[in-house]
């Protein structure tokens, strides 16, 4: 009872404290409010000279002002504004007004009159501009108020004739942001100041100041963004600005033209020099293409980028972008691309050595050659050859987007993309490889193109090579020579860079399965079989040989005649590889062979998925188990866990589910085992030794639940509930064990308190899911909650113990998609015998390269851990830039880890592994209670934990003593 009382008091006390704190805080705020504006007032009055006043204002601006006190401050500022003679101070006040009016919760309509008023009397242009800026801030805040909008627009129109560009700029900005939308028609009847904002802004396209011109175009774009439909007349105005002297004007004009072309793609515009007419989007396309050869690279980038998003352009125009009519001495010449194509189609391999094969052919009619066509001619040819790599990248991106929407164009631009593989800047090369991959389903590579593509495999940059492997995965090759060439080059790559092994195998897998008929004639050559002689059996561990086999086996999957060409050892190797590299080698139907896979394969076709069924069945069997006797239950659990684990190994697509369920069952098994301990009834002192098992079980269950919660992607809320429930059970077990082993009530009291809080927390977080948990531990616990709150610790423990025993085994619903996060460290390989030597006290950089699968948000969660032989552990947070994302669900970590240690006498191994950091509050929906308070205390202990999720790799290092 005493304990209960004490607790009550404590509870009440905490509440009181919180309230008091709040009260104090609010009081403080109220006190400061008047004093703040007053202080400002005093300060400003004190200020002897403008410089002082400016200082005060600057200081004032550093502190935030509360919403309630804004108005007071504004009044004081305005008052000073009227008195102030120095423009710089007025400027500062004006800018402060703007800042203040942005304060959340403050409605600035009360100061609008004053602001407009002071605007009318202001002489200084700078202050005027600033005041307009303030008005803009006010206007955007009060976007719904039509009257104020109109009024502000009027003010802006009035000041548009100002001589200072700054003021005109701001006016245009104001018009762009606040100009009424579609209201002009209705207002005209009223005879009010209904202004055609577009026309007003359009008039300033020919302002004398380039900054104002830019502002005008920007304002127009702003209008468009706000949903106002621009008139088509804008197009002609914008076209004139394309030849402006200033780059920012041209850049903005290009944007505007693009916008208009998207608005009116189908309207017809005349071609100036002739009486023909073309679609507006085509005309705009031509104009933007022309800007790709602008003098300023900013404009070029802008133009090249926008080209990509003009998808309505007619194909005839599109194709022109890749066509640059060549001539030599006035005779038409074919491009190298055309020549290559011709050679290819005539069946001759490109020699490139024929004398005069680029000799110009027909005469060009001098009159017909238009050297600086207004059309789209060769825009991309220029863009891809640009000096600045920014432009080149933009051009490649644009090509990609256009090619995705037009297969014909994709075919055409192939040559150019292939050429870009030899760019001097790596980013450009990478970008073009990615682009090629994206459009690869539209294209088939010719042999000569493949040749150029494959040449890049020798690039020293790993990113490029891997991107290229990805590309080859999804390319269509037209001939068997092409396949052979690709294989040869890939093998060359493999010998040169052995670390690319996995990537190359994967690449060959897809290459094989895509082109079974092309691989077929190559098989005897590739396997070096001979019709009469037995050839030597190749080394099974040779990565190159495996690569060849991967290609062949994948091709054989859809080509039933192929296995007939295999020799005996090939079949053996198949069996071996099918088992060891099951993700690369598919199941084959091999005639006359009693292989495991051949027995399985007929079954696969009729049933939808037997392994899935097996999984379901075994899990159902387990979930029906609460009525079985404990001994039988344990055995069943053990068997099921074993089955599931094996299933996960065999079926990679079910690995996530199987592991997830197995982990859950293991937790349950541990719990049952712990509760089965015969020693529960033994008196506490005797129990001391035997408690190991139970407490270890509790600890392990905790760990496993964290793994379940954070290591799997695709875990949903209903699973999280179950996991947390399991954790709660583990905590209860822990409590019971400690209660049994420790003497005295005081530590127990704290633990009980903590546990009950946790239950409370659980209830709050998962209140919606509680109905699911019928008959479970928590369900019962919550029923007894009032009793528990008032009981003594010993009593609590007793209740918990019985409840744990009685509680039902919860069914874990399987999520749709679940994947286990995993990581493999590719580098360091951990096989080196040469220690990494470095001087002690200095650092050595260790390159770490790892692939991560199914990790969500790796930038924040993945850490590298280094374990030194002395037990010292070091956690390293890789930079966000070290993560690359080569495909969905996959990440790649390439980083450097700095090692350092004091001198050792001999080299020793350090362990490097990857950790997955988690914080348990992250997943729980945030309640104001958590935000407000400091959170439940137990969260703090588990907030930063880390689960190792990769095999540790050993690195041999040797810190040498520093030479003196």
């Amino acid at each position: 009872m005493a304990a209960h009382l004490k607790k009550r008091v404590y509870e009440e006390f905490t509440k009181v404290v919180q309230q008091q704190q709040e009260e104090v805080a609010t009081k403080k705020l109220r006190l400061t409010k008047p004093s703040k504006s007053a202080a400002l007032h005093v300060d400003l009055c004190k200020a002897a000279c403008p410089a002082d006043a400016l200082q005060y204002l600057l200081q004032f601006a550093r502190k935030p002002v509360e919403a309630e006190s804004v108005e007071g401050v504004v009044r004081i500022l305005l008052e000073h504004y009227y008195k102030e003679t120095d423009p710089s101070v007025r400027l500062k006040i004006a800018s402060l007004l703007g800042l203040l009016s942005k304060t959340a919760g403050f409605s600035p309509d009360c100061i609008i009159d004053d602001a407009i008023n002071i605007l009318q009397n202001e002489k200084s242009h700078q202050v005027l501009a600033q005041l307009l800026d303030t008005l803009l801030a006010i206007g955007t805040k009060l976007a719904e108020n039509q009257a104020i909008q109109t009024r502000l627009v009027d003010v802006a129109c009035k000041h548009l004739t100002d001589t200072s560009h700054g003021v005109r700029n701001k006016c245009l900005q104001l018009l762009g942001n606040l100009g009424s939308l579609e209201k002009s028609v209705t207002k005209d009847t009223e005879g009010l100041t209904a202004r055609d904002v577009q026309k007003i802004i359009g008039d300033y396209f020919s302002d004398q100041d380039p900054r104002v011109r830019t502002a005008a175009i920007k304002a127009m774009l702003q209008l468009h963004e706000r949903g106002l439909k621009l008139h088509q007349t804008v197009y002609n105005q914008a076209c004139k600005l394309l030849s402006d002297d200033y780059e920012q004007v041209r850049s903005a004009a290009v944007q505007l033209i693009w916008v208009v072309s998207q608005l009116y793609p189908e309207s017809i515009v005349p071609i100036p020099s002739s009486n023909e007419e073309i679609r507006l989007v085509d005309d705009a396309f031509g104009k933007i293409c022309h800007m790709v050869s602008d003098g300023s690279w900013v404009v070029r980038v802008q133009a090249a980028k926008l080209l990509g998003s003009m998808e309505q352009v007619s194909s005839h125009f599109l194709e022109q972008t890749l066509d640059k009519k060549l001539m030599s001495d006035l005779r038409r010449k074919r491009t190298a691309h055309e020549r290559a194509k011709e050679l290819y189609s005539s069946g001759e391999f490109s020699s490139g050595r024929k004398w005069g094969d680029d000799a110009p052919k027909e005469e060009v009619d001098t009159g017909a050659v238009n050297l600086i066509e207004s059309g789209a001619c060769g825009a991309f040819v220029h863009g891809l050859e640009d000096e600045m790599y920014e432009v080149r990248i933009a051009a490649v991106e644009a090509l990609c987007m256009l090619a995705q929407s037009s297969p014909a164009f994709a075919e055409k631009c192939l040559d150019f993309l292939v050429d870009m593989f030899n760019d001097e800047i790596e980013e450009v090369r990478l970008q073009s490889i990615h682009t090629m991959r994206k459009i690869s389903n539209n294209i088939t590579l010719r042999e000569d193109q493949l040749d150029t593509v494959l040449a890049v495999l020798e690039d020293s940059s790993r990113d490029i090579r891997e991107a290229l492997h990805e590309l080859l995965c999804c390319t269509n090759v037209s001939t068997k020579e092409g396949i052979h060439l690709a294989l040869v080059e890939l093998l060359k790559n493999l010998t040169k860079y052995p670390t690319d092994r996995d990537s190359i195998w994967k690449c060959l897998k897809f290459l094989g399965s895509r082109h079974p008929t092309l691989v077929l004639p190559l098989v005897p050559e590739l396997l070096s079989t001979h019709p009469f002689f037995d050839t030597a059996e190749p080394d099974m561990d040779d990565p190159a040989y495996i690569a060849v086999l991967v290609l062949i086996f994948n091709a054989a999957k859809t080509c039933p005649t192929m296995p007939a060409l295999f020799s005996d050892h090939t079949f053996r190797h198949y069996a071996y590889l099918r088992d060891s590299l099951s993700h690369l080698v598919p199941a084959l139907r091999l005639p006359g062979r009693k292989l495991v896979s051949s027995a399985l394969s007929p079954n696969i076709a009729p049933h939808e998925d037997p392994s899935q069924q097996f999984l379901q069945q075994s899990l159902e069997r387990v979930y029906s188990l609460q009525h079985l006797d404990p001994q039988g239950a344990q055995e069943l659990l053990e068997f099921t866990i074993r089955d599931l684990q094996r299933l996960g190994e065999l079926q990679s697509e079910l690995a996530g589910v199987a592991d997830f369920s197995a982990t859950y069952l293991r937790c349950q098994l541990l719990l049952i085992k712990a509760l089965q301990e015969k020693l529960w009834n033994v008196a506490a002192p005797l129990y001391l030794k035997q408690s190991d098992l139970a407490s270890a079980a509790a600890k392990q269950i905790m760990e496993e639940t964290y793994k379940m919660e954070f290591m799997y992607s695709g875990v949903e809320n209903k699973q999280v509930v179950i996991i947390h429930h399991m954790r709660l059970q583990a905590k209860a077990l822990q409590l019971i064990v400690t209660a049994r082993t420790t003497r005295g009530v005081d530590p127990l009291f704290g633990m009980c308190e903590k546990f009950l809080q946790e239950v409370d927390f659980f209830q709050r977080c998962f209140i919606a899911d509680l109905p699911q948990l019928q008959d479970s531990f928590v369900d019962k616990l919550l029923d007894l909650m009032p009793r528990l709150m008032t009981s003594k610790p010993a009593e609590v423990v007793k209740i918990l113990q019985t409840m744990l025993r009685q509680s039902a085994f919860l069914h874990l619903p399987l999520p749709e998609q679940i994947h286990k996060a995993s990581a493999t460290i590719i580098e360091p390989a951990g096989e080196s015998d040469n220690p990494l030597r470095f001087t002690s006290g200095l650092v050595v950089a260790l390159d770490v390269d790892a692939t991560l699968e199914h990790v969500q948000d790796p930038q924040n969660t993945v850490k590298v851990q280094v374990l030194y032989p002395d037990g010292q552990a070091q956690m390293i947070h890789p930079k966000p830039a070290d993560f690359r994302n080569p495909g969905p669900g996959r990440h790649r970590l390439i980083t450097q880890v700095y090692l350092s240690h004091t001198a050792w006498t001999e080299p020793c191994q350090v362990e490097v592994r990857l950790l997955l950091a988690y914080s348990s509050t992250a997943r729980i929906p945030k309640s104001p209670w958590i935000e407000g308070g400091e959170g439940p205390p137990q969260v703090d202990t588990s907030i930063e934990g880390a689960i190792p999720f990769s095999k540790p790799v050993k690195v041999y290092i040797m810190p040498k003593p520093a030479r003196r």
Binding site: Q208, M327, G352, I372, E385, Y389, A455
Partner: protein, 592 residues
């Protein structure tokens, strides 16, 4: 004086607003006699060149642009400033020295400039930075723009007052492996002097060219053949070196690449130095590795030419007209496995030009006949702008007129037509020795007195930018300065009395009434029609409208006709003529 409808011996004399500037001072590769240098006597017959020329500008270090410089400054005699960019200043003497050695030591020419002369000549050079405006004297200023082509090549804008000329020198609009693209701002010069080497060519994308080149070299080398690439020591050579170097590195080839020694090493040193003049890639990566520090390219020794096995040799000079490249060519020409790649333009008369035009038997010096069995390839690696590039530059600069030089006449003709057609500007292509005179419409700044401006402001609305406006005033031209002042002030300044100029006009009206009455009617009529003006009826019977006086009198002969005398001053011409026209229409019939 050179490069008119011709390639080589670039030398152009420009007179602009009384200033004389010589652009480039080159030699001609095709000649070995007097014709190789420009005829400087053309500039001035009597008197020293220094007095006549205000400055000399050298666009880049190729010998056809600077080869005659020591001859011009030291032997003919010129002491004025010579402008060029820093890299040009550094590399130019090396090339001149090399040229001198070949001419004097090999050919034994006398009366050639000496090393000392080159040194003396270089002392007169003033180096300029890109986009730096240099004031040559009070009126003449020059400014350099990036031109690509070779390291340190520049285009120059020469400006006197409002007139300006842009001289491009040689330039390249497509960037390459080591240089960026030429760029000029929209400076709207009166005249653009552009080279036009490739006036009738539109080139394929450089990537194909590069790939082709590498493929050809690679295949020949794999066959065991030797590749000779004749180059000018500087310029394309570095481009090709970088290309081959990176290719070798990528393909991991071991075949030796040689570069003929001597000047190249020195020059390469400068290439490493003037990183800011190269392209984006080299500028960005030179911190890790300077691209000009070649790993695979070694210096060439004459003995290497006879070594067995494949090799690639870069040798000078580029047109196979002399020197090492010709020697190697002779040695290798007989073997069909070998290959010569001509990476650039060859002037007529050189061996290079001959073999490119398909000649297989060459007459060498000493009546030898050399049979060419090796493969001859031509790869356009020349860093000149093609027709499209030239048009692009013209479009960028927006000149009032264009003048084409440094190209072949019939090709230029085509480009000239195109330029006139597309841009609607006049285009010229003078031959050597021909003078083109261009009329310019210079704008003359006129000072305006504040009083006049303010008065004008007060009258009209706010001034609208870019719109012409009429205003009255007097233009005073006094010691080469122009001022616009109000007429009163002008009178005062010049000490002249004002002359009154009055117009009078008689208007006959049929009216039988008295003069007084008549005047009253006129008054009331005018009062009602001219609302905005001050119409008064004076006691003496006359009517005034502003300063215009109207008197009514009876006609001397016909009393039925009244004569209205209208008189106005010159300043009121507008109103006066309006009034007479109005009165001539007659007075409205008043119901009397």
């Amino acid at each position: 004086m050179g490069a008119g409808q011709d390639v080589g011996r670039s030398c152009i004399l420009v007179s602009i607003a009384g200033k004389n500037v010589m652009l480039d001072c080159g030699m001609h590769m095709g000649f070995n006699d007097d014709r190789r240098f420009p005829d400087f006597s053309y500039i001035t017959q009597n008197g020293r060149l220094t007095d006549f020329l205000d400055c000399v500008i050298i666009s880049h270090f190729h010998l056809d642009h600077c080869g005659a410089l020591p001859y011009f400054s030291e032997m003919v005699g010129y002491d004025g400033p010579i402008y060029m960019t820093h890299p040009t200043q550094a590399i130019c003497p090396i090339l001149l020295e090399d040229y001198r050695k070949i001419a004097v030591d090999k050919k034994g020419e006398a009366n050639f400039f000496t090393s000392q002369m080159i040194k003396d000549c270089m002392k007169k050079v003033v180096a300029v930075h890109l986009h730096q405006t240099v004031q040559v004297d009070d009126e003449l200023e020059i400014k350099a723009y990036y031109a690509g082509h070779v390291l340190g090549a520049a285009m120059f804008q020469i400006k006197v007052g409002s007139e300006s000329v842009v001289y491009t020198g040689d330039y390249n609009m497509t960037p390459d492996r080591h240089l960026g693209a030429a760029w000029v701002d929209k400076c709207r010069p009166s005249l653009l002097i552009s080279e036009s080497t490739y006036a009738t060519t539109i080139r394929d994308s450089k990537r194909c060219r590069e790939r082709d080149f590498l493929k050809k070299v690679h295949e020949t080398v794999e066959r065991g053949g030797k590749v000779l690439i004749p180059v000018f020591a500087l310029g394309r050579a570095q481009e090709l070196c970088i290309l081959l170097e990176t290719f070798w590195e990528r393909m991991n080839l071991k075949v030796p690449i040689y570069f003929s020694t001597g000047l190249t090493e020195k020059a390469n040193h400068y290439y490493k130095l003037f990183i800011t003049w190269t392209n984006q890639k080299i500028r960005k990566t030179f911190v890790q590795r300077n691209m000009f520090e070649f790993k695979h390219i070694k210096a060439f020794d004459r003995a290497f030419a006879d070594n067995p096995g494949p090799m690639v040799v870069f040798a000078t000079p580029g047109m196979l007209h002399a020197g090492q490249s010709l020697q190697i060519f002779r040695k290798w020409a007989g073997n069909e496995k070998n290959m010569v790649i001509m990476p650039g333009y060859c002037v007529q008369g050189t061996v290079g030009h001959k073999i490119l035009s398909g000649q297989r038997k060459l007459e060498m010096e000493g009546r030898q006949v050399l049979e060419v069995k090796m493969q001859v390839e031509y790869m356009s690696f020349s860093a000149h702008a093609d027709a499209k590039g030239i048009m692009q530059l013209v479009g960028q600069a927006e000149p009032d007129s264009v003048l084409l030089v440094h190209g072949e006449a019939k090709k230029m003709e085509f480009l000239r037509q195109k330029i006139e057609q597309e841009f609607r500007v006049s285009c010229y292509m003078p031959a050597n020795g021909e003078t083109v005179t261009l009329p310019t419409s210079p704008s003359i700044p006129v000072g305006i007195s504040l009083g006049l401006l303010k008065r004008e402001m007060a009258q009209g609305l706010l001034p609208e930018a870019k719109k012409l406006r009429l205003l009255h005033g007097t233009l005073i031209m006094k010691d080469s300065s122009f001022r616009l002042v109000s007429s009163e002030q002008a009178l005062k300044e010049l000490g002249l009395a004002e002359h009154q100029l009055r117009f009078t006009c008689r208007v006959h009206l049929q009216d039988t009434r008295k003069e007084q009455e008549m005047a009253l009617r006129v008054y009331s009529h005018l009062k009602s029609t001219l609302q905005g003006h001050c119409v008064q009826h004076l006691p003496d019977g006359s009517v005034t409208v502003e300063s215009i006086l109207i008197q009514a009198a009876a006609h001397s002969e016909d009393p039925g006709t009244k004569v209205l005398l209208v008189s106005w001053t010159y300043q009121d011409e507008e109103l006066g003529s309006f009034l007479t026209a109005l009165l001539k229409k007659g007075l409205p019939q008043t119901p009397s």
